[in-house]
Amino acid sequence: METRAFQRIYTRIEQITKATCTVRATGVGYEELAMVAGRAAQVVKIIEDQATLQVFAGTEGIPTNAEVVFMGKSPTLKVGDALAGRFFNAYGQPIDTGPEVEGEEREIGGPSVNPVRRKQPSELITTGIAGIDLNNTLVTGQKIPFFADPDQPFNQVMAMVALRAKADKIILGGIGLTNDDYLYFKNVFENAGALHRIISFVNTTEDPPVERLLVPDMALTAAEYFAVEKKEKVLALLTDMTLYADALSIVSNRMDQIPSKDSMPGSLYSDLAKLYEKAVQFEEGGSITIIAVTTLSGGDITHAIPDNTGYITEGQLFLRRDTEIGKVIVDPFRSLSRLKQLVIGKKTRADHPQVMNAAVRLYADAANARTKLENGFDLTDYDERALEFAREYSRELLAIDVNIDTEKMLEVAWMLFGRYFSQAEVGIKQELMDQYWPKE
């Protein structure tokens, strides 16, 4: 972002806060990019000839006579096939050893897709993890976050899902990623021999927090290029969106906005929706699927960030350590994929929906039995069987180290039904029972 001839330069900064500065200038456009003492900034408010700029890297050390150069455009990314395999920072500048990317310059955070030009998502994404494929099936064009506490292995599971998902491009938006996790992603992708189809935009914990606001838009602008222009299946990974929301609240706080719930800006819902809604299935075949991470504090999903996210995304995935089997499982109660109805029983075997529901219901019966047990009550024979079923179900299907195809998952479920229950207890449509109930 070097300065060029005929750019308007101003040197009278009238007000400086931790994240913003205000300069007297004319002919400034809303959301225009500027350089303040060499740091990237963006116009967030204009009142007559006073433009307020949000300085991404913070305002430490900026003097009132600093040079402010307006670039005449909002932040952009150069898109092209050369993006593949590269690592960039929040401004879209390379952080690997490669050259600058040449390509068409596009404004980030562009317009929304006309809803009538979207196609109904209908293509299954298989991951081999039964907690996902069987109970919470993912579909191209979907947006879904992991709701996880910081100590859970969400980045590992996400990397695993990304590599197994058969996407044409994987775009990683690292938002406040720790350096260790950044290197982890890099290694996993490298070892899988998948680097050529991966593009990363990374802001680590070492970088200024407000810069994070650019990362998802950069990642999704690249995603749109490959999905629209190249008609590719793109998988965008955004981790961790909680840090994105935190950055939003920092800026709104510095601009004296009245906070709403949990000190978050009142526009949090719209701000998050604008990103997540970039997930789309195009008629021409390209698609953008977003898998995100929203870290929770102590599993609290009523906090404004997970709460607003839950209303925007098409379901959520919860990880939980099952102490009975000592493994991490995808929690069947709290996880949900809203788009699964579009594919299960249609793209998968006809018994899929009912098997899935019956298994979860029986698993719930086991949870009730466990409560009874903990309260010191006697268990019925049914309770005992439900508990045993739950252990097997957890080990054979819910654990994240399972890697089998969907047909096999259904077979395992039927086998467990037959082993522990009678047909009346399972309560599936009779014609399906007749077809799939395990023969002695």
Binding site: I46, P111, R118, I258, Y269, I301, I312, G315, Q316, D381
Partner: protein, 590 residues
Amino acid sequence: MKETAQHTKGKVSGIIANLVIVQVDGPVAQNEICYIRHSGTALMAEVIKVLGDKAYVQVFESTRGLQPGMEVDFAGHMLEAALGPGILSKNYDGLMHDLDAMTGVFLERGEYTDAFDMGRQWEFRPLAGVGDTVEAGSWLGEVDENNIPHKIMAPFKLEGQYTVKSIARAGTYGVQDHIAILTGHDGREIPVSMVQHWPVKKAVKAYVRKPRPFKLLETGVRTIDTLNPIVEGGTGFIPGPFGSGKTVMQQAISKQAEADIVIVAACGERANEVVDLFTEFPELDDPWTGRKLMERTTIIANTSNMPVAAREASVYTAMAIAEYYRSMGLKVLLLADSTSRWAQALREMSNRMEELPGPDAFPMDLPAIISNFYSRAGIVYLKNGRTGSITFIGTVSPAGGNLKEPVTESTKKVARCFYALSQQRADSKRYPAIDPIESYSKYLEYPELQETLNQQISPGWVGQVEELKNILLRGKEAAEQINILGDDGVSVDTHLIFWKSEVVDAIILQQDAFDEVDARSPLRRQKYMVDKVLAVAQTELAFDSYEEVNPYFKRVIAALKQMNYSEFESPGFRQYEEELQGILEERKPG
């Protein structure tokens, strides 16, 4: 609003997100529409505050690139909807621009399309004659819109009485052709075409009176129709945490309800959900007429990534369209998902204008705005004696699933039906997750509705519904006792009470929205199953110990459930019914 004589102009002087401050050179009105000129396009905006010669306008588009000094033209009127034949089957944005008529894959700023085909010809039949006295909303003629008799009415903006000076003969006319000329008392002549404009934030009052609702609106959803019915012209709301099935619920109602016209306002929700409607409605049959669902439906889509200010407008646009069709004597069902997003849009603007906030940073007048909106629903007697109705059901997305938040509380004060979605039911996959005990329909207490229900379904129906509710309530108490005292700490009777309520829950409350047969349960079938379930509850059964109760009732439920999954009165249905009879015989005392 009086239209301003000369059109005021202005210049942009400030920009804060989608709030723009305009320096004006003449009179402006609150809520007046203006257009900001920005490199070849005109961006639509609405005045929301005036301070001296500064008008604060909310822009219905992204404000990226706007600069101080850009020119602004004021339109001289409020946000208006164009009303006329051709609205049905259309997909609109929040400002009633036809989404299908837009060219690109992405929404272009300032691309405003007509609400319907202004060049289209319609087969017109006159209903009024020369010399007739008419007023706002009087039926002048009709055209056939998707097999629905679409009335061409005297404009809603008319005040007082007019005489029909001339009316077109039956024949083919363009939407914008004059089909009548009306003369006022002062001799002024008003030409009328098939199109009229109405400011969406004002209620259409072209009716004589609004009685209390008295007719059931069948939805095919058992837990609604049987336990907490919604009525023609009624209001209801569905609050629930995410994942509790609000949207599935609303979609089921929109597909199955006994309405002539369905208007869906997708307000700040997921785009893929709207795509579901776009994809499915042209394929699905309307269970009442056998025609395609899309033919009776209009969708207003302001998805969550579309501009926030247009989100607020979208619910009003939807209501104005509903009022237009109600004035034709039709039964209109209006669904808004979700009214919380609309309230949030209000909050964002209020915040940008630096107003002192009310609870949770929402504007102070939020309760008034909500109640005003709900009050536009209702069944009405038109001036010609016919009835028309708008039944309104809104969803609410309470922050953190907490029902003690401003939007839920304000809505609860005005909506007469409350469908509480329970997280606990959703977690245990008991769908629809409407809590039978928390939820209510105030209409069930209306004697006028009780009377029509007993007539329409069967004498004593309301009594049966009360009995179902009692069984559920007693079952809940029994469940608590069992939880506290343990299975063997309570009598077998307590187990029986619990399991009888489980039968009601599994067979009447739970319904599989994704099963072809079970998804929609017509009233006659609901009545039949209620009789069956009550018969089970009244059957005397003998057990030696509580351990026999659970497996026994699982069989009862399984048989009844298979009945729900079978075509009504089919051989399969009868077979499971016999099976059930057999099961009941096993435990006859003595």
